[in-house]
């Protein structure tokens, strides 16, 4: 055996996992945009957690009314002015972060779980099951998502949980199609055939071999979807099927502020800009993640 075995010089053993992480982080740092995205997302999450606590006028957030101070223009005391019942717009917007971001997370998580399940089963099982599931997914996709979400939200009634559920129910098809595509592609990979040749059970092949390799596109889509989920939540709020007063939420804030344009324009600026920044941050982060996790979609 001697002449055969030529032990390959093993590179320094060292903990391997740390090195892989370092390499990924280095690639992430490469693009300044994803760093900017990560910074904005950190800021948004910070406000999502402490928004209502840090707000300069916490009792405004809990719905206190001081009608004497209605529609004050932006000033040192109120950087973004006050609204129609005298509440400080900046505080409401900061507190609004919590609702919008939480709702965004809720939609993305429920949507992706549901969608991944449907997509994985359809992609892996194939044949009739695939046809049935995919036709249903296409069906839900043909109904304009906002109208579907509105109908469900109206049916369930207003309130935070109903809104999140309504949007998730019209959100999962996106993931179903993505995951099905990935699973179909992965199914043809050689290492999957190898796993089946070894005798692995279909479930093991799907969950141990196929899905882990479909993870990165799902994560990328989740981070990109966060932004769109926040927009849809605000959209529902804008239409008036959103959260219940006095909980501050960007969409509802913008919807009421809208009627005071152009004279009291500041009431709309804060929630609008906050929404833009949050979605911008998540999109940048999503782009950065795509380059790190999923090199196929090169920058």
């Amino acid at each position: 055996m001697s002449k055969l075995a030529d032990p390959i010089a093993a590179t320094a053993a060292g903990p391997v996992r740390r090195e892989k992480l370092a390499r990924a982080l280095f690639r992430f740092r490469q693009s300044r945009l994803s760093l900017l995205g990560a910074a904005i997302v950190a800021l948004v999450l910070f406000f999502a957690l402490l928004g209502s606590v840090l707000a300069p006028y916490p009792d405004d957030v809990r719905g206190s009314v001081s009608t004497a101070a209605r529609f004050l223009a932006p000033s040192a005391a109120h950087p973004f002015g006050t609204n129609e019942v005298g509440q400080d717009v900046l505080s409401l917007t900061m507190a609004g972060t919590t609702v919008s971001v939480l709702a965004g997370f809720g939609v993305v998580i429920i949507g992706s779980l549901l969608g991944t399940l449907v997509g994985a089963v359809a992609g892996f099982a194939g044949g009739l099951v695939d046809e049935a599931l995919m036709r249903f997914t296409d069906l839900v996709l043909t109904i304009p998502s906002l109208i579907l979400a509105m109908a469900i939200a109206a049916a369930l009634g207003p309130g935070f949980e109903n809104m999140v559920l309504a949007i998730s129910l019209s959100w999962w098809p996106g993931y179903a199609r993505l995951v099905r595509g990935e699973v179909l592609a992965a199914r043809e990979e050689v290492y999957v055939t190898a796993a089946r040749a070894i005798g692995a059970s279909p479930a093991r092949v799907l969950f141990r071999h196929i899905l882990p390799n479909c993870l990165s596109p799902i994560i990328v889509k989740m981070s990109l979807d966060m932004g769109f989920a926040i927009l849809t939540v605000a959209g529902l709020g804008f239409i008036g099927i959103g959260v219940r007063p006095p909980t501050p939420e960007w969409g509802t804030l913008l919807s009421t502020a809208r009627s005071y344009m152009p004279d009291y324009w500041w009431t709309a600026m804060a929630p609008g800009m906050a929404m833009f920044l949050a979605v911008f941050g998540f999109n940048l982060l999503g782009d950065g993640l795509r380059d790190v996790l999923d090199p196929r979609g090169r920058r």
Binding site: L33, T142, P144, A151, L231, F238, L254, F276
Partner: protein, 335 residues
């Protein structure tokens, strides 16, 4: 080719049934009392009952579904409790407005998005590319309704260059109705001033609606162009001395565009949904507004009608896109 189109059209039948079933289930969940609303505040119980029977709302759900589907065959989409008009007639009045807006937005998005995507791909990793990437992501992140508000605030309220909303100044009689698209009808009837006014009304809602699809189509085109540039046949083309201009147009653009086409199909559906917010901001008398109003007053017949019509348009649009894809990308034909 024909056999494929026939098969896809046959596929519409289950889509119609599927759509209506889903919407009827949702309608069932509605707690409210739409009849009470439509009958008016002071109507007695007897009057409400009369209205309910008139609209057949007191019959069991599957009976209502039966008559609804039977009506479908005759193109009757039921009647709106609110406007008392047949839904089909309402949709006929409001649909052209939405379609005009959606097509204008999509056209703008494709006409600007595709070349921009190609250009940024060609100047990859240089400052114009980075700048366009940031602007594109910014455009996608901008909430449509907030953008609409800003446009309205700046151009209509302060600068007064553009009208606040709506499709046409009221005093102007709309041109003879051919397609229902004001811009096209104005052109057909050769009336320049109306065409210009209609365009000025169309400007802001189209920009608000098309910014996000434009950015996405640009990014998708850029990504697929970059991928194509990495393909061997591009290197071969360069190795064989093809001039750069021909390589960009015939090799890169053509292959990249065929990949981007499918996104445009998907976006058509998204746009139909997306108009709801833009129509609300710009007083655009389209399907979105009609559906919103109906949903809020839980008048479900119009909602089902709108969902059905936009669903069908989405399917037909995708059918067109797939056939176009087949034409451009011959490989598909013999797959």
């Amino acid at each position: 080719m024909l056999q494929f189109i026939l098969r896809r059209i046959l596929l519409l039948i289950p889509v119609i049934f599927g759509l209506t079933i889903i919407m009827f289930v949702i309608a069932r969940l509605l707690p409210g009392d739409p009849v009470g609303l439509a009958a008016g505040a002071n109507a007695t119980q007897a009057e409400r009952q009369a209205l309910a029977t008139e609209f057949g709302l007191d019959r069991p759900i599957w009976a209502q579904y039966g008559t609804y589907v039977a009506g479908l065959a005759r193109g009757d989409l039921g009647r709106s409790l609110l406007t008392r008009r047949p839904v089909a007639q309402d949709i006929a009045t409001y649909l052209p407005a939405t379609l005009e807006l959606v097509l204008a937005a999509l056209a703008l998005a494709v006409i600007l998005g595709v070349p921009l995507g190609l250009l940024t791909a060609l100047w990859r990793n240089r400052w114009p590319d980075y700048l366009s990437q940031v602007v594109a992501i910014g455009a996608i992140s901008m909430p449509r309704f907030f953008l609409g508000l800003l446009l309205q605030l700046v151009f209509a309220m302060w600068l007064m260059w553009l009208p606040l909303g709506g499709r046409l100044p009221i005093i102007v009689f709309p041109p003879h109705k051919v397609t229902g698209f004001l811009t096209i009808d104005a052109l057909l009837s050769g009336n320049g001033t109306i065409f210009v006014t209609a365009l000025r009304h169309l400007a802001m809602p189209t920009i608000a609606l098309s910014l996000s699809p434009l950015a996405t189509i640009m990014r998708m085109m850029r990504a697929s162009a970059i991928e194509v540039m990495g393909q061997d046949y591009v290197t071969t083309a360069r190795a064989l001395g093809l001039p750069r201009r021909k390589i960009v147009t015939k090799v890169i653009a053509r292959n990249a565009f065929s990949a981007t086409l499918t996104v445009i199909g998907l976006y058509f559906g998204w746009l139909l949904g997306g108009t709801v917010l833009v129509e609300t901001v710009f007083d655009w008398p389209g399907l979105g507004l009609y559906a919103t109003k109906a949903i809020v007053s839980q008048d479900m017949m119009p909602v089902i009608g709108v969902a059905l019509v936009s669903g069908l348009i989405f399917v037909v649009a995708n059918l067109l896109i797939d056939t176009a894809y087949g034409l451009i990308n011959p490989k598909v034909r013999y797959a």
